[in-house]
């Protein structure tokens, strides 16, 4: 089983080395190594609760690791002072699972928000930029709508336009496909790949939607129990000999991850005097 992605060169935009992180007593990462090359769409996959979103927050500098390093474009994120970290974040876009659009602003103002905060561009130029970004996600016509008036898929596309507003170097997607109807999902899948290639981005997609993610990812990193259990192209992963990876990719109900939650045997529970419901 490979635990490292290999190929660490200067052309890596994001390098995660020996990352350890725990919340309370629960260890979430125990030595994760991932490198993501410039221009690629990297997928980070794993079952729910493996800390995929936490990983994105660590990359964005919103959380501090217990040990290990995360470098973005050669800069160690967690040694940066506040001002430098905020400067770095201007070059990173993040698409939250919920979209995280500002509910009191309409689509246009949501996308304009980072531009208004960080640039001194004229109103006319901001208008052009916002409309171009909204056009890229196909929602120029919806610019006057408020987030409450959008469907889930549309909200994510507006959030994507906002994440791209400052022309970032890296875009992180947190579960972009979850809860989407097939059409929205298809649009998002295509958009992520298309925008990555057209704008020269590097994309990190965190997901557990195997088929959709494998369709667009250049490389997939599968995380389980705090470590990267497998890395490689989607084709290489399909050919993996790891039972765990096979169970995950093929959505098998039973395997190394058991169907049954650990407990006493069924006979013991049904016939014995101890076990479930004995106290009733």
């Amino acid at each position: 089983m490979a635990t490292d992605t290999g190929g660490r060169t200067n052309d890596c935009v994001v390098e995660i080395e020996n990352l350890h992180f725990s919340r309370g007593t629960r260890q979430i990462f125990a030595g994760v190594n991932i490198s993501i090359r410039r221009g690629e769409v990297a997928a980070i996959m794993g079952p729910s609760g493996t800390g995929k979103t936490t990983l994105l927050r660590l990359i964005g500098g919103q959380l501090r690791p217990d040990a290990g390093r995360i470098r973005i474009d050669g800069v160690d994120v967690h040694t940066l002072k506040r001002r430098a970290l905020y400067q770095l974040r201007k070059r990173m876009g993040m698409l939250f699972q919920s979209g995280a659009l500002f509910t009191h602003l309409n689509c246009f103002e949501n996308v304009a928000f980072p531009l208004r905060e960080h640039t001194r561009l004229s109103q006319a130029l901001i208008r052009h930029l916002v409309l171009i970004k909204l056009e890229a996600v196909g929602l120029r016509g919806a610019h006057a709508l408020y987030p409450a008036e959008l469907s889930g898929g549309m909200a994510r596309r507006v959030a994507l336009a906002r994440a791209l507003a400052l022309d970032p170097m890296v875009v992180m997607y947190d579960e972009p496909f979850s809860g989407q109807d097939p059409i929205s999902m298809g649009i998002l899948v295509r958009l992520i790949r298309l925008l990555n290639d057209a704008l020269g981005l590097t994309s990190i997609v965190v997901s557990h939607d195997v088929a959709e993610t494998a369709e667009i990812a250049d490389r997939v990193h599968v995380i389980s129990a705090g470590k990267v259990v497998e890395s490689g192209s989607p084709q290489a992963l399909r050919a993996s000999s790891s039972e765990w990876v096979q169970q995950f990719l093929n959505a098998l109900p039973d395997g190394p991850v058991p169907f049954h939650y650990p407990g006493p045997s069924l006979e013991e529970d049904l016939l014995g005097h101890r076990g479930a419901g004995a106290a009733l």
């Binding site: 993040m94 939250f96 980072p114």
Partner: protein
């Protein structure tokens, strides 16, 4: 017994940690205040949201409190033949105590709870996180204007409360109960000191504005990002800030009017 001690220790530690977090948070927000000079629009929006939108409840409450003061004051003073001093009683009660305190309590219920719920929901829907990832510091962009807006709004509301209250007292005292209008105003003018009474009242409402808004924004930022967490935080804002206002009022009164 041991379990009780353990629980007591745990809760004391949690409360102390929270107090520490609240102060560190305040320090960071205060550091962000100078940046607002470049964007006064953000503060003006907040003065509108917390101040202007609270005007109705403040004015109506002020009117009724003043009218009740007029009634009660008249009934007490008339037995001593001192009903001419009704204006002094109404004005002093309002400028020194009721104006700052009651408007702070109403402000906590009307604007403080709204601030906590707004910030708490922004946290629960990841809007604050999203803002951070857009390289915009929510403590400076969201919290600082709200803190300053609240601090400016409450003294103005308290002044309006007091003014409307005095007219309420005047209406009941002179129009309904027949106290001489000249005596009402002239005694008030002679007995109410600007430096002692009005300024002290303004200082009180400044302090209350600061405490209520600080509590409200901190509860919002510190809440558990769930619907239950936001609802608890909103309740805590009203309870804690009201208690703080009443406690501080006692201390300030003891210092100002001894």
């Amino acid at each position: 017994m041991i379990e009780w001690l353990r629980l007591f220790g745990e809760q004391t530690l949690a409360a102390t940690a929270r107090l520490g977090r609240g102060h560190m948070f305040l320090l960071r927000v205060l550091l962000g205040l100078p940046g607002l000079l470049r964007r006064p629009g953000l503060v003006i929006n907040q003065i509108y949201a917390t101040g202007v939108l609270s005007l109705l409840i403040i004015a109506v409450s002020g009117l009724f409190v003043g009218m009740v003061l007029g009634l009660q004051g008249y009934n007490t003073l008339v037995s001593f033949g001192a009903e001419q001093s009704l204006g002094v009683l109404v004005a002093l009660s309002l400028t020194r105590e009721l104006g700052p305190v009651v408007s702070a309590l109403l402000f906590s219920g009307r604007a403080g709870s709204a601030l906590t719920a707004e910030i708490g929901l922004m946290k629960a829907t990841e809007q604050l996180s999203g803002m951070e990832m857009m390289a915009v510091d929510p403590e400076r962009r969201i919290v600082a204007p709200r803190l300053l807006g609240g601090m400016i709004a409450l003294p103005l509301l308290a002044a309006i409360f007091t003014l409307v209250g005095v007219f309420g007292g005047y209406f009941v005292g002179t129009v309904l109960l027949g106290v001489d209008s000249g005596a009402f105003w002239s005694q008030m003018q002679a007995q109410v000191s600007f430096t002692e009474d009005v300024v002290n009242g303004v200082i009180k409402s400044l302090v209350f504005g600061f405490v209520v808004t600080w509590t409200a924004v901190f509860e919002g930022v510190d809440c558990t990002p769930t619907s239950e967490g936001v609802s608890r935080a909103t309740t805590r804002t009203v309870v804690h800030s009201s208690l703080a206002v009443l406690g501080l009022d006692f201390i300030l009164t003891a210092l100002m009017f001894d």
